[in-house]
């Protein structure tokens, strides 16, 4: 049996229909955009060192945060776990040879790249300065930057996301191996299912909204135009109808990864499998009902505001259920602190803080004050960077041996995880404080009393940068020099570990048949085997 990595020609990659290779193609592209968006963040942080706004002009600064937001959201975080790890793992986890529509899968990658090229074009020709939210009438009438091209870029990338979601949903419905009932699915698969649901149902609304924006810009009149009696706030309704559910696209897959990591490294069956599975679906559904919480001071009716606030409080309950279940899973486990586990534990803590500050924002009385301040910026970085990016890194470490057949260096891994965690808190915790003190966001110059917090934040960002650069370095290093990985270096359950690392092109040498649930771990057994040296503290390679 040959592994899926065997062939090396360009054609074999660019025309591949193998979901594993497509996952890797995605990895390259999103890393590329992550680096650009991070450099933009770095420049922003440098600019904010001084209150005067002297490093870059205000126009440049506005373009930087727009670029940062747009690339990070649509070209990095939305496709991060689903399109990379999801593509790679979904068929493996349910015991299928591939996704349901492999050609479509490759097409969606090309669509994504086309969108990315549009975004790059806009960047190279001077950028866009509307913020990632594209509020009208600024974006439709007043901005004179490349709004149309950038909107087109997101429109196109959106279709890639729709196609991926569709593919995943059909795959999960129809391609499960014999014996793989719905309640034997790994929780990562459940979370991908919930994510796909949102991708499929929310993204089209974003697409049509951006299309309307473009038509309005081209045609000169349009639906959001106050001169026709149009309401610019309607744009916000349509935008957030997508973008709030989209924030769950940017956390649910991370939650799925965490469920896998916690069980494996605590060697415990997950606590409350059904509740975690259903809470993913609940988040996906309830997530569609709360978008108005971004519009509390937008001139939206105060009664609508109250309804949206109430629903926002309710949507946090399923997240709470997950957090408590992960915690309970650790009880009576046999816990080891491998790198992926460090990321998972970091995730739980930072997600809790990010989520709870989301509740603070959902509280009407406070949001009037902190809306559009750094408090909001801190909130979403806690969830998106402290949550999803950590989950992505954790997952990447965990499945790295499966993907590449090599182990990453464990000590360096731990160092990067700790650096990232510390740097992260330094960067974003001060933003909560200055946000409550009234520091508005999207400000290129600011009153001097906020400087101390900005300096702390920039210092933290430099540490955080190391936390990112280190893994990029050693991952590349490990491709050549890493220890060879066994089929199942973590001694994990899960179908993906029952096949060689890296897996053969058709995933399994024989059609797997599933007879048990996904997390048949036994902590006592693990302890016994550890004592006699069968389960090493540092697992991994073939010696």
């Amino acid at each position: 049996m040959t592994t899926y990595l065997e062939k090396h020609s360009w054609g074999s990659w660019l025309l591949t229909r193998d979901h594993k290779r497509i996952g890797i193609l995605y990895l390259y592209v999103i890393l590329f955009f992550f680096v650009i968006a991070s450099v933009a963040a770095g420049l922003m942080r440098l600019e904010l060192l001084t209150p005067a706004g002297d490093l870059v002009t205000s126009d440049t600064y506005n373009k930087l945060f727009t670029l940062h937001g747009v690339l990070m959201v649509w070209f990095f975080l939305v496709p991060s776990i689903p399109a990379v790890l999801g593509n790679f793992l979904l068929p493996l986890m349910i015991g299928a040879r591939d996704v349901a529509f492999p050609k479509l899968n490759l097409t969606s990658w090309y669509i994504f790249v086309a969108g990315g090229l549009c975004a790059l074009w806009a960047l190279l020709h001077g950028g866009v300065d509307t913020g990632w939210t594209f509020y009208t009438p600024y974006s439709s009438t007043y901005a004179n930057t490349h709004v149309i091209v950038m909107a087109a870029a997101i429109f196109v990338a959106g279709f890639s996301s729709i196609v991926t979601g569709l593919n995943f949903m059909v795959t999960i419905h129809t391609m499960r191996a014999p014996g793989m009932g719905w309640f034997r699915l790994p929780l990562f698969v459940w979370s991908l299912y919930a994510t796909s649901l949102i991708m499929v149902l929310a993204t089209p609304v974003l697409a049509i909204t951006l299309a309307l924006l473009v038509v309005e810009r081209l045609w000169g009149v349009g639906i959001f135009d106050p001169h026709l009696g149009g309401d610019p706030v309607l744009f916000q309704h349509l935008f957030w109808f997508y973008s709030h559910p989209a924030v769950y696209i940017m956390i649910l897959p991370g939650m799925g990864v965490i469920s896998e990591l916690i069980t494996c490294f605590a060697r415990k069956k997950i606590f409350g499998y059904n509740f975690i599975a259903f809470s993913s679906m609940a988040i996906a559904m309830l997530g569609f009902l709360v978008w108005g919480h971004h519009m509390f001071v937008s001139s939206q009716s105060i009664y609508a505001g109250m309804v949206f606030s109430l629903l926002s409080f309710l949507v946090s309950i399923p997240s709470a259920i997950k957090v408590f279940n992960w915690t309970a899973t650790l009880y009576k486990g046999s816990i080891v602190f491998q790198t992926p586990m460090l990321y998972a534990l970091g995730f739980i803590g930072l997600f809790t803080i990010g989520g709870m500050t989301g509740l603070i924002l959902a509280s009407l009385g406070v949001d009037v004050h902190v809306h559009d301040t750094y408090f909001v910026v801190a909130h979403f970085h806690y969830i998106m960077v402290g949550g999803m990016v950590l989950a992505f890194l954790g997952g990447l470490h965990y499945w790295w041996p499966k993907i590449t057949g090599r182990m990453y260096p464990e000590l360096m891994g731990k160092l990067a995880a700790v650096l990232g965690f510390v740097g992260f808190n330094f960067t974003f915790f001060p933003q909560f404080i200055m946000g409550y003190m009234g520091m508005p966001r999207r400000y290129h110059a600011y009153p001097p009393e906020f400087q101390v917090f900005h300096v702390l934040s920039t210092a933290g960002a430099s540490i955080l940068a190391c936390g990112y650069l280190l893994p990029m370095g050693y991952f590349i290093w490990s491709l050549r020099y890493g220890r060879k990985a066994t089929a199942n270096p973590w001694d994990a359950t899960g179908l993906e570990w029952q096949t060689p690392s890296p897996p053969p092109t058709d995933n399994f040498n024989a059609q797997p048949v599933v007879t048990t649930g996904p997390y048949e771990y036994d902590a006592e057994e693990a302890e016994r085997r550890a004592k006699i040296g069968l389960l090493p503290q540092t697992p991994g390679g073939a010696s």
């Binding site: 309704h237 009902l289 108005g292 009716s301 609508a304």
Partner: protein, 95 residues
């Protein structure tokens, strides 16, 4: 390989029903229904849609998951419209 799942006669009856409903909507437009007008129009449209989906699109003989996929889009659309209107309809209310 397959066999027809719905008979030709059913299709013809469906078409007849659809054209009948079309006449009905146009007639309704000329009746003095006042505010009920929109509701009546939408009711007819929904009936037409159901006819098309159930017979032309074979929902009648489809599995439950297809029914789900067929309805979920409309459910979400309802949410979008109802919650947006919740804003516009209550804007002029006084606190």
């Amino acid at each position: 390989m397959s066999e027809p799942v719905i008979s030709r006669k059913t299709y013809v009856w469906t078409l007849a029903g659809l054209l009948g409903l079309l006449c009905l909507t146009v007639m309704l437009a000329y009746l003095p229904l006042g505010p009920l007008h929109l509701a009546a129009g939408m009711l007819v449209s929904v009936s037409k849609m159901l006819l098309i989906m159930v017979f032309f699109m074979h929902l009648r003989v489809s599995r439950r998951v297809i029914w789900l996929a067929a309805s979920v889009g409309f459910v979400m659309l309802t949410i979008l419209i109802v919650l947006s209107l919740a804003d516009y309809a209550t804007r002029s209310w006084m606190p």
